[in-house]
Amino acid sequence: MWQELREELHPKGFEVVTVALDTGGVEAAKPFVDQANANHPSLLDEAHVVDELFGVVNVPNGVWIDEGQMIVRPAEPAFPGRNPVMESFEKLDVSTLPPDIADIMVEVKKIRTDPAAYKAALLDWVEQGAESRYALSPDEVVARSQARTDAEATAAAHFELGQHLHRTGEHAAAISHWREAHRLQPENWTYKRQAWNFEDPVRQGHTDAYDGSWIEDVRKIGPENYYPAVDL
């Protein structure tokens, strides 16, 4: 998805690094990278370390890092000019779908993103560097990063225990830690979707393992708030 933009901007001293936040590991993430035939670093983060270090609570999220390895925009929803996934959904006639999938798609279609504005801002930064009005000061970068109270930090610890237990074949034990992570940080979609997906891939519907599901939780906050509006 980012290949085209990367090709356009690479000669200007710009690189894309994708990171798959996938407890499912190589098996889950590699087919997508192979299919994209990516020519930029395409990393795997099985332990969700990037979530914790950069404050990623949903995907896709982008972080801008300048030539001196200073963050100039912290994690925020990021789309490459066009959002082919959402575009393909636009054309979809939900009446042709199984009812539970149709319900999900009705909500998905209400999700708001602004890929064109994001791309324009990114191009401006690549051209103008620190002079770009989209490049934020260090203080603003810190202030805009996610909150980290005790609840969020404890959620991160539970999530990590869960991911380790899952990876070592103790899936049932992982669920209780993931439930706790969801309770402590309900706005973290990464924790929730990663966990739900093991019980019910694609739909991420309600199961005995968790209190929530994608559609229930999206309806609770309103699909238009699923990606917070990017304050460019």
Binding site: E15, V17, D22, K30, I65, A155
Partner: protein
């Protein structure tokens, strides 16, 4: 940070959390927390002391004899304490080789988090 012991190698600790042991204490960016002299012995850090000093939650899974140390937290705190990008090292799915974010110093980088799920 996942732990099977409450004494952790200082280099492992730095690699995973970004906090390093310095003469003035435990430091990350410009922030340094004083540590009692006995918090480090034989290159290993006493996790309980550090957790308390740095406001890091320590979660114990007794049945599996494991702990997880969460990131430093507190009221009003943000995930980032500095705009300096944390240096992460992760495997590249194309090659299987480890890739370090800081190897791109000198270029502008868009770090893009995505997932298969």
């Amino acid at each position: 940070m996942l732990l099977d012991s409450l004494h952790v190698d200082v280099d492992d600790f730095k690699g995973r959390t970004g906090w390093s042991v310095q003469p003035q204490g435990l430091c990350q960016g410009d922030v340094c927390l004083p540590l009692p002299a006995d918090a480090v012995a034989d290159g290993r850090l006493d996790v309980q002391t550090v957790a308390e000093r740095a406001g890091m939650p320590l979660v114990h899974d007794e049945a599996h004899a494991l702990w997880a140390l969460g990131p430093a937290a507190g009221s009003g705190r943000r995930v980032l304490t500095t705009a300096q990008a944390p240096d992460v090292e992760l495997p590249d799915l194309r090659t299987g080789k480890l890739f370090r974010l800081s190897s791109l110093r000198g270029q502008k980088v868009l770090l893009l988090a995505w997932a298969s799920w």
